[in-house]
Each structure stands twice: as structure tokens, then as C-alpha cells.
């Protein structure tokens, strides 16, 4: 039986990082991951018996993140919570990546995060998202193309030229 504290210590940061990339907001990501671990602790006897308890926590966290209710809560929380803060600005790299991710549709963004940040193989992503492996590959392919477009520091008129 896996130790809850060890599971938390080993995976909280990586799960938060993934959901930060998805939300674009670290506090929301942290809230979701904390709640997912709370739900795991509430039924720890059952969850700890699984082959991979972290897979259960990850699934719950993503379900929370992608639910309509959660989105509404996040929006409302943001409106109430917003305060100007004085902190070191994020690196240009991070801003560029988050901006590029925001350009993706939600499913493509989720696939991308699970593939590049959670290091999950395509078949596991397919199971987690309840779609076929082919669909995951297709979303991943489209996401890569869009991300390359957004991140590519090529000639400024390249996108316009491509659209034309």
C-alpha cells in the first residue's frame, strides 16, 4: 500500500505544473490538484490499492479542471480574488508557451500537456480522455502545428503569407 504523504510529495508539483499549462493560472491549478488529493485521501484505502494511485489522482484533477462547473468557479474566483501583486515577471519563454497553448482548443491543449508535461504515452492519454488513440494522435498533430506556428520566431509576415 502506497504512502499518501509520499505520493503527494512525489506528484503534487508535477500535476500542478501540468494544470498550470492548461489553465494558465498557477493558483487555480494548485487548488484543483489539492482537491484531487483530498478526494484521494477521503477514499485512500481504496485508491492506495490501485496499481498506480497517481493515475487516479491525475484523472480526478483533470476531470475537475475540465468540468463546466469548475470553469464557472474558476472564473468567479478569479474575479473575486484578483489583486495586483508585485512579483518577478515570468520569463519570456513561459509567456510565449502559455500564449501559444491558449491558442489551442481545449482538447488539443489537454493532449499536449499530457504528452509533453505528464510524459504519458498516446494510449494512456486515450484512456484518460475516453477517446481512441487515433484521435489523440490527430489532436496532437494539429496542436504541434499550431504551437510551431505560434512559437516560431520566423519572419513576422509568415503567418499572413501562409493565410494568404
Amino acid at each position: 500500500m502506497e504512502d499518501f504523504d509520499a505520493l503527494y510529495a512525489a506528484h503534487f508539483t508535477s500535476l500542478t505544473t501540468q494544470l498550470f499549462a492548461y489553465f494558465g493560472d498557477r493558483q487555480d491549478a494548485q487548488d484543483v490538484v489539492q482537491e484531487a488529493f483530498g478526494r484521494a485521501w477521503a477514499r485512500w484505502r481504496q485508491v492506495s490499492a490501485y496499481d498506480e494511485p497517481v493515475a487516479w489522482v491525475r484523472r480526478v484533477a483533470w476531470n475537475l479542471a475540465t468540468s463546466n462547473v469548475r470553469r464557472a468557479r474558476v472564473a468567479a474566483t478569479f474575479r473575486r480574488r484578483y489583486r495586483p501583486v508585485h512579483a518577478a515577471p515570468p520569463s519570456p519563454d513561459r509567456v510565449a508557451l502559455l500564449t501559444a497553448l491558449r491558442a489551442l482548443p481545449a482538447k488539443q491543449r489537454q493532449v499536449t500537456v499530457l504528452y509533453y508535461l505528464a510524459d504519458l504515452p498516446v494510449d494512456e492519454i486515450a484512456v484518460l480522455m475516453g477517446v481512441s488513440g487515433g484521435t489523440v494522435k490527430s489532436w496532437l498533430h494539429r496542436a504541434r502545428t499550431t504551437l510551431a506556428d505560434e512559437l516560431d520566431p520566423g519572419p513576422p509576415n509568415r503567418k499572413e503569407a501562409r493565410r494568404g
Binding site: Y8, T13, S14, T17, G38, R73, A76, R94, Y116
Partner: protein, 208 residues
């Protein structure tokens, strides 16, 4: 599928992102997780206790021959199942309309108290503590007919009440305990119209 994108650049970008963000994340810790779970459990216990009390109230009404329809000349009363569904909807609405934090959890209740006030406390042996001086919001949302008065008493003798109209509008009221304590007593008093015709969701928000 041929991939036109040079994947290494993306791998590198995400690796940098992971490294930078990983250094900034400050996990709240497993103690906070356990506190959150304890609160949920305690409130569920309170909910179960209230359900028992409601059953008692209904039985009492039957044995004394009381009928809500005879005392209120409005819509017919709802069945127990319909009232439960209404309360569940109130919970959903409360989640959708209020920024409930991970440490908050709404409670579905039904206004089936035959006009009698009902006291709900956390009770039990839970180590749950409301913290002195910390801000909490009590939140309530009622669906159905009529109104209900929600009164509370927080640790340290902080009391208050608010009228909730059963039209789906959420109500928030702030309370700040004057002492640490394991429970907040909530007292529901539905009006005659709400009896057997309304579902209420209650919860609270903790400000840290």
C-alpha cells in the same frame, strides 16, 4: 502520420517550463488535505443527522394527522424524492454561482420541518476547528417556494441570521469566530409556503 513540426523544440520548451514552474510551486501540504477531508466528512455527518431529523418530523406530522396542504393554500407539496432532487439542484446551483473553495462543501437540505426550527451542528468527535479571527462566509441558496431564515451560531457566540428567498439567488454572509471551535450551529426556519416545497443548499467558504 508525417509530422511537419520539429518536435525537439517543443520538448525543449516544455522541459524549460517544467523546470521553471516546478521551482515556484509551494504545495499546501498533506495536513491541509486532511483538514479539508475532515471538514467534508463532518458536514456530511451533519447532513445525515438532519435527514434523520427530517424523517422524524414527517413521521410526527403523519401521526398527528397534520397536512401541509391543509395549512397552505398554494401549490401542492412535493414528494420526498422531488424535494431531494430540488435540494440537489440547489447544491449544483450553489457550486455554479459561488466561488466555493476546496475547503468548502455545500449541504443539501429540504425545508420539510413543518414550521419547526431545526438545529444542525457538526457534533461528533471530529477534530474540525473553525479558527478564531478567521473570515468565513456562510452561503445559502434555496429553490422552490417561499423563504427560509438561516440562523447560525459560530464558536465564541457569534450569531446572526439571514432570510433566503427560494428563487435561486445565493446569499452570502460573513462570520468571524471569536474562538476556535468544532462546530457552527445552523438553524433553518422555513415559512409556511416553503414547507415541503423547497430545497436548500448550505455551505461555507474559508478565507485563508
Amino acid at each position: 502520420m508525417a509530422d511537419p513540426v520539429h518536435d525537439d523544440r517543443l520538448v525543449e520548451a516544455f522541459t524549460r517550463f517544467r523546470s521553471q514552474v516546478g521551482e515556484e510551486v509551494r504545495p499546501p501540504g498533506t495536513d491541509a488535505v486532511r483538514r479539508w477531508v475532515r471538514r467534508r466528512r463532518v458536514i456530511r455527518v451533519a447532513c445525515a443527522a438532519m435527514a434523520v431529523a427530517l424523517v422524524g418530523a414527517v413521521v410526527a406530522g403523519v401521526t398527528t394527522g397534520g397536512s401541509p396542504d391543509m395549512t397552505v393554500g398554494v401549490d401542492p407539496t412535493l414528494s420526498a424524492a422531488d424535494l431531494e432532487e430540488l435540494a440537489d439542484r440547489a447544491v449544483d446551483d450553489l457550486f455554479a454561482k459561488e466561488p466555493l473553495t476546496a475547503s468548502a462543501f455545500p449541504v443539501a437540505v429540504t425545508a420539510q420541518t413543518q414550521g419547526e426550527p431545526l438545529t444542525v451542528g457538526h457534533g461528533g468527535s471530529s477534530p474540525l476547528k473553525f479558527v478564531q479571527g478567521q473570515d468565513y462566509d456562510l452561503v445559502a441558496l434555496c429553490l422552490g417556494r417561499g423563504t427560509a431564515t438561516v440562523a447560525w451560531e459560530a464558536p465564541g457566540g457569534v450569531t446572526g441570521s439571514v432570510l433566503v428567498v427560494c428563487d435561486g439567488t445565493p446569499v452570502r454572509v460573513r462570520f468571524i469566530p471569536r474562538a476556535d471551535g468544532p462546530e457552527v450551529q445552523i438553524r433553518l426556519t422555513p415559512d409556511a409556503e416553503a414547507i415541503s416545497r423547497a430545497g436548500i443548499a448550505l455551505g461555507y467558504i474559508e478565507f485563508q
